[in-house]
C-alpha cells in the first residue's frame, strides 16, 4: 500500500516515504526573486485617468414619438366604440364592422411600440406602456367596442362561479369542469368579499388584463432566454400577436397559464443552471463539431451523476422561489385539467437535462395532481373515466375539432383557414429560431419545451379544444424562439427592420380579424344577460331551461337550480334539428337570442329569420307560448298540459 499522505508530523521532519516528497526548498529570507514556476507575467500598463464621460446621443424625436402615438391610440378607442356598427356583424366578424378610428388606434399602438424599440435608448416604462396600449387596442378591442363580455363560455363559467358562491359547494352532476373548482371558488370568494352580485364587468375586461399578465411572463422568460433589451419585448409582442387561441376569457385555463408561466419563469430564470462536468467531459449533443465523442453509456452516467450547478442566489431567495413555485403548482392542480400536465412535462424535461435547481418541485407537482385527481376527483373518474382514456367514439375528436369547424359562409371559412395558417407560420418561425438558438448556444431544450404539450394528443377525448391547447401551451416558447429568429434576421440585414415593423401591423390586424371572426354569434348584449337572469329568476327551480343553441349568456345563473337539458343523440343543441330535438327533449322553457339567429345564418347557412320562424312553428303547434319577445330574443314556455303528449282524457278515479 502506498501512502500519499505528505503532511508533516509537525516536528519539522517529513514522513519517511519514498514517494512524492513534498518540497522542502524555502525561499531565502530577504531575497525577493520572482517565481519561475509560472509563466512570466507581462507588466500591465498602468490605467490612466478615466476617460471623459461620453455624451449620450439625444433621444430627439423618439423622446415624444412613442408617448404621443400611445396617447393617440388611447384617445381613438372611444371614437372606435362610437363608430362601430355592431348590428352589421356577419361571417367576417368584428373586423368588418370596425370603423377607421379602431384601425387607426391599432396602428398608433403598433407605432408606439416600434418607435420606442427604434429609440437609441429604449425606456422600459415606455415599452411597458406601449405594450399595454397595444394589448388594449388588439386583444381588448372587443372589450372596448362591445357593450358586454362576448363569448358564451365566459358567461357559463360566471354561472359556475355564481353556483358556488352561495354555499361554497361545487354542484355535482352538472358539468365535469366542476371537479376542478379552484378557479370558480376563487372568484366566488372575490365576489362575495367585494359584496358584488355579479361579475359582468370582470368578464368584459378579463381578456386584455390577463393577456397583459401573460405578456409580463413572456417578457421575463425571454429576458432569461434571449437577453438583450429589445428582443424580450419583441417576444412579448409576438406572443400577443400570434395568440388567436382566445383562451384568455374568464376561465380556469387563463389563470392556469399565468401559474404555468410563473413556474416556467422561475425554472428558466433564477433557478436556471447547467449540468457541467468538472472533468470537462462534454455532454450530449457535442458542443462543437470537433469535440471528441465519448461512449453513450459514459455520457449518460456522467449526466446522471453530475449535479446541476448552484444558482448564484442567496439561499433565502432560493427558498422563497421554491415556495412560490410550489404554491403555483399546488394551485394549478385543482384549477384546470390540462395545465398541470403541461407544466409538469416541461419541468420533467428541464430536470432530465439538468437545467434547473429544485427538482423536488416536479415531485410536488406530481403528488398534487395525482392526489387531487384520485381523492378529490373520485366521483369524476368513477363515472367518467372514458373522458380520460377515450373511447371508440373519441378517436376522431382531433380531426373533428379541426376539419369539422371549417364550415360557414365565406367570411367564416376564410377566418378558420387563417386560424390554421397562423400556428403553422408560428412553428416555421420558431423552428428557424431554434436553429439560431442552437447555433448560438448549442441548446435544443427550448424547442423541446414547445414540443412537450403535443403529448396532450394522447387524450383525444378532450375534444377539438385539444388542438387549441397544444398550440397555446407551446406558444410562449415558440414566440421567444421566433423573436430570436427575427433578431438574427435584423442583425444580418438592417433594412429588414422596416419590413418587420410593417409585418407587425399586419399581424395585429390579422389578430383582430381572427379573434373577432365569430363575433356575429359570440357577441352578447346587456339586454341578453338581463333576459337570461329574468327567465332564470321567474322559472321554478328544477325545471328545464334550454337554449335553442349554445350561444348567448344562457348559463349566467341557475347552473345548480335549473336543468340545462339531457343528452340526446344528435341533439347536442336544439338547433341541430329543432323540431325533432325539441320533441325529444321537450324542455319547460326555451330561450333564444340574437346570437342564435346569427349563428344559424353565418355558420349553418340557414335563411335569415329562421329562429323566428321556428318560434312561430312551436307556438302554432300549441305546445309552447311566447312569454317574451324582442327582436330575435325570445322566451317560450311549455303549455300545460301538453296538448300532444296527453290527448286522452284522464280516467276518473285513476
Amino acid at each position: 500500500v502506498t501512502s500519499t499522505d505528505t503532511r508533516s508530523p509537525g516536528d519539522g521532519r517529513r514522513p519517511e516515504t519514498g514517494v512524492d516528497q513534498a518540497t522542502t526548498a524555502l525561499r531565502a529570507p530577504g531575497v525577493d526573486q520572482a517565481t519561475t514556476a509560472l509563466p512570466a507575467q507581462r507588466p500591465r500598463p498602468q490605467p490612466g485617468p478615466p476617460p471623459p464621460p461620453v455624451e449620450e446621443a439625444p433621444l430627439g424625436i423618439f423622446r415624444w414619438l412613442s408617448p404621443l402615438l400611445a396617447l393617440a391610440a388611447v384617445a381613438l378607442l372611444p371614437v372606435a366604440a362610437a363608430t362601430t356598427d355592431l348590428s352589421a356583424l356577419d361571417g367576417w366578424g368584428l373586423a368588418k364592422v370596425l370603423g377607421p378610428a379602431a384601425w387607426a388606434a391599432l396602428l398608433c399602438a403598433v407605432g408606439a411600440c416600434v418607435a420606442e424599440l427604434w429609440s437609441p435608448r429604449p425606456r422600459i416604462p415606455m415599452l411597458a406602456t406601449a405594450t399595454g396600449v397595444l394589448i388594449l387596442s388588439s386583444v381588448g378591442m372587443p372589450s372596448v367596442v362591445e357593450p358586454a363580455a362576448r363569448f358564451t363560455t365566459a358567461w357559463l363559467l360566471a354561472g359556475f362561479t355564481d353556483a358556488i358562491a352561495g354555499d361554497g359547494i361545487p354542484a355535482t352532476g352538472v358539468d365535469a369542469r366542476f371537479y376542478w373548482p379552484a378557479f370558480f371558488a376563487q372568484w366566488a370568494w372575490f365576489r362575495d368579499a367585494g359584496g358584488a352580485t355579479q361579475l359582468d364587468a370582470v368578464l368584459r375586461w378579463f381578456p386584455p388584463v390577463v393577456v397583459a399578465v401573460w405578456a409580463i411572463g413572456i417578457y421575463a422568460l425571454a429576458r432569461s432566454m434571449l437577453g438583450g433589451s429589445r428582443a424580450p419585448w419583441v417576444a412579448a409582442w409576438l406572443f400577443v400577436g400570434l395568440n388567436w387561441i382566445e383562451q384568455d376569457y374568464f376561465s380556469p385555463q387563463a389563470t392556469g397559464i399565468v401559474l404555468l408561466l410563473t413556474v416556467l419563469t422561475f425554472a428558466l430564470g433564477p433557478l436556471a443552471t447547467r449540468r457541467t462536468d468538472a472533468a470537462g467531459v462534454p455532454g450530449w449533443p457535442a458542443p462543437h463539431a470537433d469535440a471528441p465523442r465519448l461512449p453513450l453509456l459514459r455520457r449518460w452516467l456522467v449526466a446522471a451523476m453530475t449535479p446541476p450547478n448552484r444558482p448564484t442566489l442567496p439561499p433565502r431567495q432560493l427558498l422563497l422561489i421554491y415556495f412560490c413555485a410550489a404554491l403555483c403548482l399546488l394551485a394549478v392542480a385543482p384549477a384546470h385539467q390540462l395545465t398541470p400536465f403541461a407544466i409538469i412535462g416541461q419541468l420533467v424535461l428541464l430536470a432530465v437535462v439538468g437545467r434547473f435547481r429544485g427538482r423536488g418541485l416536479v415531485l410536488v407537482a406530481g403528488v398534487a395532481v395525482v392526489v387531487f385527481f384520485i381523492v378529490a376527483g373520485r366521483n369524476f373518474w368513477l363515472s367518467q373515466l372514458s373522458l380520460i382514456t377515450g373511447s371508440g367514439e373519441d378517436k376522431g375528436a382531433l380531426e373533428a375539432g379541426v376539419g369539422g369547424r371549417l364550415m360557414g359562409d365565406t367570411g367564416q371559412v376564410v377566418v378558420k383557414y387563417l386560424r390554421i395558417v397562423v400556428p403553422g407560420l408560428t412553428w416555421v418561425l420558431a423552428i428557424a429560431g431554434a436553429w439560431v438558438y442552437w447555433r448560438r448556444r448549442r441548446d435544443l431544450v427550448p424547442i423541446g419545451l414547445a414540443v412537450v404539450p403535443m403529448g396532450f394528443a394522447a387524450v383525444q377525448s378532450y375534444g377539438g379544444e385539444l388542438f387549441l391547447r397544444i398550440v397555446l401551451y407551446g406558444l410562449p416558447i415558440l414566440a421567444i424562439l421566433g423573436a430570436d429568429a427575427l433578431r438574427a434576421l435584423v442583425r444580418e440585414r438592417r433594412s429588414m427592420e422596416i419590413v418587420l415593423a410593417a409585418g407587425m401591423a399586419i399581424m395585429f390586424a390579422t389578430l383582430v380579424l381572427i379573434r373577432g371572426g365569430n363575433d356575429a354569434y359570440q357577441i352578447v348584449y346587456p339586454k341578453d344577460v338581463a333576459l337570461a337572469r329574468q327567465v332564470i329568476a321567474d322559472t321554478p327551480q328544477g325545471l328545464e331551461i334550454v337554449p335553442l343553441s349554445h350561444v348567448g349568456p344562457y348559463g349566467v345563473e341557475g347552473i345548480d337550480t335549473h336543468s340545462g337539458g339531457s343528452v340526446i343523440k344528435g341533439c347536442s343543441q336544439l338547433a341541430n334539428d329543432p323540431i325533432r330535438c325539441i320533441d325529444a327533449e321537450y324542455p319547460d322553457v326555451i330561450i333564444t337570442f340574437q346570437a342564435v339567429e346569427n349563428e344559424g345564418v353565418v355558420l349553418d347557412q340557414k335563411p335569415p329569420g329562421w329562429s323566428l320562424e321556428l318560434v312561430q312553428q312551436l307556438v302554432a303547434s300549441g305546445r309552447y307560448v311566447v312569454t317574451y319577445q324582442d327582436g330575435f330574443n325570445a322566451v317560450l314556455k311549455k303549455t300545460v298540459p301538453d296538448p300532444v303528449a296527453a290527448p286522452v282524457n284522464p280516467t276518473p278515479g285513476g
Binding site: Q337, V367, I374, V375, R378, N379, L385, S386, R419
Partner: protein, 111 residues
C-alpha cells in the same frame, strides 16, 4: 373498499410530505455543503421524505388509486371493476355526480 372518511389521512400525509420536503430544501440550501459528501441532516430528511412518500402512495392506492390504475390498464369501468373485486363502498359514490354532458371538458370553440 375505500372509505372517504379516511381521505383526511391522505391530506395529512400530503402536508407532512410538503413539510419534510421544505425542511430538506432549507437544510440543503442554507447548509455549507462540501463537495462529495452529503450532510447527515440531509440524508435523514431524504430518508424521511422517501418514507412519507411511500406512505402516501400506499394510502392513495388503498383509497382508489389501485382501482383507477387497474381500470385504466384493463379498460374496464371502475364501478364494475370495483364491484367484481373489492366492492366499492356505495357511500363513496355520489349518484348525482355523473356529469350530464359527456363532452363537458370540451368548452365551446375558443374562437
Amino acid at each position: 373498499v375505500f372509505n372517504p372518511a379516511l381521505d383526511v389521512w391522505i391530506w395529512i400525509t400530503c402536508l407532512a410530505l410538503l413539510g419534510v420536503l421544505g425542511a430538506r430544501a432549507w437544510v440543503v440550501e442554507t447548509g455549507q455543503g462540501r463537495l462529495g459528501r452529503t450532510p447527515a441532516k440531509v440524508q435523514v430528511l431524504t430518508a424521511a421524505s422517501a418514507g412519507v412518500l411511500v406512505l402516501l402512495v400506499v394510502l392513495v392506492a388503498v383509497q382508489g388509486g389501485a382501482l383507477l390504475v387497474n381500470s385504466i390498464l384493463t379498460g374496464t369501468d371502475p364501478l364494475v371493476a370495483g364491484s367484481a373485486g373489492a366492492p366499492v363502498d356505495p357511500a363513496a359514490v355520489d349518484p348525482a355526480a355523473v356529469p350530464v354532458d359527456p363532452n363537458a371538458p370540451a368548452a365551446p370553440a375558443g374562437g
